[in-house]
Structure formats: C-alpha cells, structure tokens
Symmetry: C2
Subunit: 337 residues, 2 copies
Amino acid sequence: MTDKITSLDVARRAGVSQSAVSRVFTPGASASTATRDKVMKAAEALGYRPNTLARAMITGQSRIIGLIVAYLDNQFYPLALERISRALQDEGYHILVFISENSQNVAAIVEELLAYQVDGIITASVAMSNDLAHRCEAARIPVVMFNRGQDEGQHSQVTSDNVAGGKAVAHFLAAGGHRKIAHIAGWQSSSTGRDRTRGFLAGLSEHGIEPVAVEDGMYDQGTASSIARRLFLGRDRPDAVFVGNDHMAFAVMDTLRFELGLSIPGDVSVVGYDDVPIAAWPAYDLTTIRQPINQMISATVEALLARIGGDGDPRRILIPGPLKIRGSARKPKGFTP
Amino acid sequence: MTDKITSLDVARRAGVSQSAVSRVFTPGASASTATRDKVMKAAEALGYRPNTLARAMITGQSRIIGLIVAYLDNQFYPLALERISRALQDEGYHILVFISENSQNVAAIVEELLAYQVDGIITASVAMSNDLAHRCEAARIPVVMFNRGQDEGQHSQVTSDNVAGGKAVAHFLAAGGHRKIAHIAGWQSSSTGRDRTRGFLAGLSEHGIEPVAVEDGMYDQGTASSIARRLFLGRDRPDAVFVGNDHMAFAVMDTLRFELGLSIPGDVSVVGYDDVPIAAWPAYDLTTIRQPINQMISATVEALLARIGGDGDPRRILIPGPLKIRGSARKPKGFTP
DNA sequence: CTGAAAGCGCTAACAT
DNA sequence: ATGTTAGCGCTTTCAG
C-alpha cells in the first residue's frame, strides 16, 4: 500500500519546504516551534521516518559498527555480543554482525564492512593481521580488538590481564599444595592463550614447580577432553589442572568425573578462565579467573567512540581479572589471592 | 591517507566513463572484457569497492536483514543467531542485530529497522504485535518470526511442533510409569510456552493423568529453581518434572541434586525442551525434545528470501521435533517415541 | 558496448 | 528561521 514516504511528502502535507522537514529531524537544528509542530503532525500521519542510508551518504556517518565474532558456542562470546550491542544501541549505533570461522575469512569480511561504510569495527576474540588493520586505518575506520591483543599494529585493543591471571592461578594451586600440575592451554595461536600460559608458567617457576604437562587445547572441547583422557589415565596422574578457558574446563571436568571416575576436587583440582555464568552453576562450581566483561565492554565501546570522534591515538587497555574461588579446586588455608 | 575512493576515481584512472565502472561491478551488467580488465586493474590499484549504501539508495535493496533477538543467555539464541547469520551471509545478506528485552521495546526497534531500509526482519523468540506487523507490511518489509507463533496476522512464522513435542513428553513419562508429574512451564505469554504446555496436558489426559502441579517458569532460571524448591520440598513430592526449556531444566536439575539431595533419575525424572548442546554434556545428560534448529533456520531464511523476492503469501511452517532420550529420565522398557 | 545525464532521499551551505 | 540549491556515490535509462 503505502509506498516510500519521503521528506518531500511530509513537506507538502505540512506546507513547508523539504529542508524544513530535514531540520526538524536533525538533532542540532533550528526550527520554530510552529513548523516543528506542523512537520511532526504530518510526519506522524504519514508514518515518516528519515532514511538512514540517505543521511549516511551525506554525513559520512552510517552509525553502523561492524562486529566480527568467532563461534558463539563458548558462552563468553554471546555475552560479549549482547552487551556490546546494548552499549552501542545506547549511543545510537547498531551492529552489523559477521561470523568468522577462520582467519583468512576476516580479510573478506573487512572488505565488506568497508563497503558498508561502517563507522568502526570491533573484533571479538578474533585477531586481525597488520596489513588488514592498515587497510582500515587508510579508510579511516577505527578498529578495536576485544579480548585479543597484538604487539605490533596501531589499532586499539582491550584485554584482561591474562599474564597476571595465569600467574594468580599458579600461586593458588601452589598454595593449595599441588605439585603435579598439568596445563591444558588456551589456543597458542591466540594472544589470550599464550599470555595465560606464559603467566602460569612464570608463576609456577616462582615456586620452583615444573608442570607435568602443557598441551594446547585449541579452545576446543573435544581436544581438551582428549588431552584430559590421556593425561589422567596414566599411573602417575596430575593432581591439578589449569584449563585455558571455562568452556574447555567444563568438558575436562565431565571427562574426569564421568569417564575416569575421578572426584573434583578430591582427586583433582580444576581451574578455568573467564568466569562465564555456567561456571557458577552448581554442577561445575568452577574456580576460575574472572574476566570483567562489563568493564571490558565499556572500555571497548569508549575506545571506539573516542576514535570515531577523532581522538587520534589507539589505546591498549589492560583490565585486571580477579581469581574467583569456588569448589572445583582445593582451597589453601588462609589464602589471599 | 587514502580518502574515499569513488567510482569516478577508478574511471579516470582506467580511462573510461564512470558508468562503465558501475557496470563492471554490477552483477547483471554488460561490459567488454577489455574495459572490465582496465577497470579491475584500476580498482585494485586504488583499493576501490562500491559504496553499498549508495547502491542501496538506488536499487532500494540494502541487503541488510534486521534481526531482533532476546537475551542471549539461553544457548538456543546465540546458536540461532550464528546460523541465521551464516545462512544469510551465503546469500549476500547481512544482519543488523537488535537486542530486545521487553516487548514494547520492539516497536521502537522496528522503527529504527525501517529507517535503515532493511530488506526484511527476523524476530528470534520475540513476538511482534499485529499492528506492528502491519506497519512492516505497509512498508513492504517482510517479517519472519522464528521460534514464535501468532494465530492472527499475516507474517511468516517458523516453529517446531511444540504441541506434538509436549505430547511426546507426556507419553514418555507415562510410559515410564510416572504418575506424580509436575510441569514447570515455559513462559505462558509466549506461543512456545503455551503450546508445549497444552500438548503436554493433552498427552497426560490421554493416559488419565492429572499433573500434580503446573507453574510458569517464565523461561527464567531463578524462577524455575524457586518453583522446583517449593514443589520438591514437600512430603508428597513428584517423581517427574517436565521443564519448559533446557535452560530452565539445568537450573532445576542443579537445585534438585545439590540443594535437595535428590538423585536423577533415581528419585526424579527430568525432561527438557530444545536440545541445546549443553543438554548432551555428561553433567546433565538431559532427555529433551530436540528443536531441529538447522531445519528451522533453513525454513526461516527461505521464507524470508522468498518474500523479498516477491512471493506474495506468508508461510506458517511447523517442523516436527523428536524426543531425544538420554539419562535424566527413567527409560520405559521397549518404548518407541 | 559505451558515455552522458537524471536522480535515489537526504543534509549542508548559501541566501533571503 | 526558512527556502533554494548543490551535491553524497551510485545505478539506470537513453542515445549513439
């Protein structure tokens, strides 16, 4: 029925010029109360809303942010997505979502995002190569990497302090009296995975402890389970394991309990990383390092908007994450994290 | 550095007209191999990509689909989001995501979506009022409701057969010899919640069974836990409970086991709805009705694209979901679903 | 097959 | 404060 209503239609009905209509709908505009009323009345009657795309072409601001995110099966991602979307919605931005499985995919995605004239890009737990970041920089599109770091490159990034987190886990397990400690690491091709492992190993060595095993779980549940099976089936099994993220830790706990019949924390202490909501579910009750997701999101959005607003320098933000002690690991007496 | 590269820049460098460039980048275009080569070379050198927004203004096709989704903490949603995004990406569409907490929010969101000139709207587990749907219809923007139904209204909808699912659960529990059966229902203001409950009660009555309790869990874990606590603390406790979705079922199981010290399925059989991945985790091993999410997504995307393509009539698609028997409920001998 | 020209719906000077 | 005018970058007739 109703075909596209344009500002011209509204103008005619209100008996004003088309630019008057535009001004009424433009935030920082100057229009008399009289015309404003007439225009609003006509607009309402016609069901008019300004065409965002046309506006974007002129202003050069689409108010669209591209979000590149990996698999959503780890609960941490959807949580991040939800909150990023909310935070941005509050600022009048919206997110165009792209799911990226592998990293070469990212290049194609970025091209598409640039074609959409997005005002900025957030990558969530996805790394971006340096020349890709360059390409965005050349197009003046700011990029913020959420939960992933990169040493070189001039984009902003927000992570929690993964090195410190890994170290805290080491201290905690050492204080708990563990000496046969294994590590099923986060994906070693990601900064988070590497940093957590690095911190963990550094922490252990402060106590003169050598881990009995360090293996890459790839942030994959199947991989983590296999490793756990192998590690804990032998005679001389570890009495503690630090798993690179909660998502893998759940799989490891299930394997330990239901396949190997081990008790947690009786036979084995398990510690994870992230503190996703499931970690607090009684079935897991997982001791873990809490990634302060709200702070991380705030920082991400703030950093992005600042750069969109013209603030020149990219930021590198590091947010500390506390140890959240629950029941999956033996508790040292009088331990203060 | 590089300021906006337009087709005119490419045209000049390639020594052709601006419209020639446009044709090269337009799928159904006619350009000689000679010009095509020149243009592509120039475009590559300059790093040119056509401005999607400008194109959208003319063609009237933004290739953007608006997705309205509720909270993402129930694993079913992010899964749906991920797959919808992938399926649409394959068809050259992208999704603009809006998170909607309450239902009045939806009206405002739809307005924004229309302003963005989206080619279509998918609501995932979110209901849309009839006049809102009308508004979209008037703007010629097709709407598909995923996992939510509505009796009136002329939009498309895709759901699994929730009535049949609920009924299947009833038959299963009855066959298992249960007679004191409780139901912690899905949100009764949603079609899925109501349908599952309706089917369940109908199924029970076929066996002459009256449920010992039916309460609305609101699709909320806290609410479901409270109800479980109350229901199972009394002397004459139920020996089975059908919970309106998996997400609540996990909370109920945790409450039953860790707060009330009950054994599942020894003391109580628990059945859920959705079959999200977590349901298969050994810690829960939940018997549940499987919502065939892939089929549902395919149908949703297909229905939407058909309507965008001009296919007139909205569709109502109902997909059967089988019972997935696991260990959380007593297994009837020789039961065939 | 190709170039010139019109215009999508809107904002942003520029006049008045 | 309001109307007029000129585009934003592109697709699409329309001639040639």
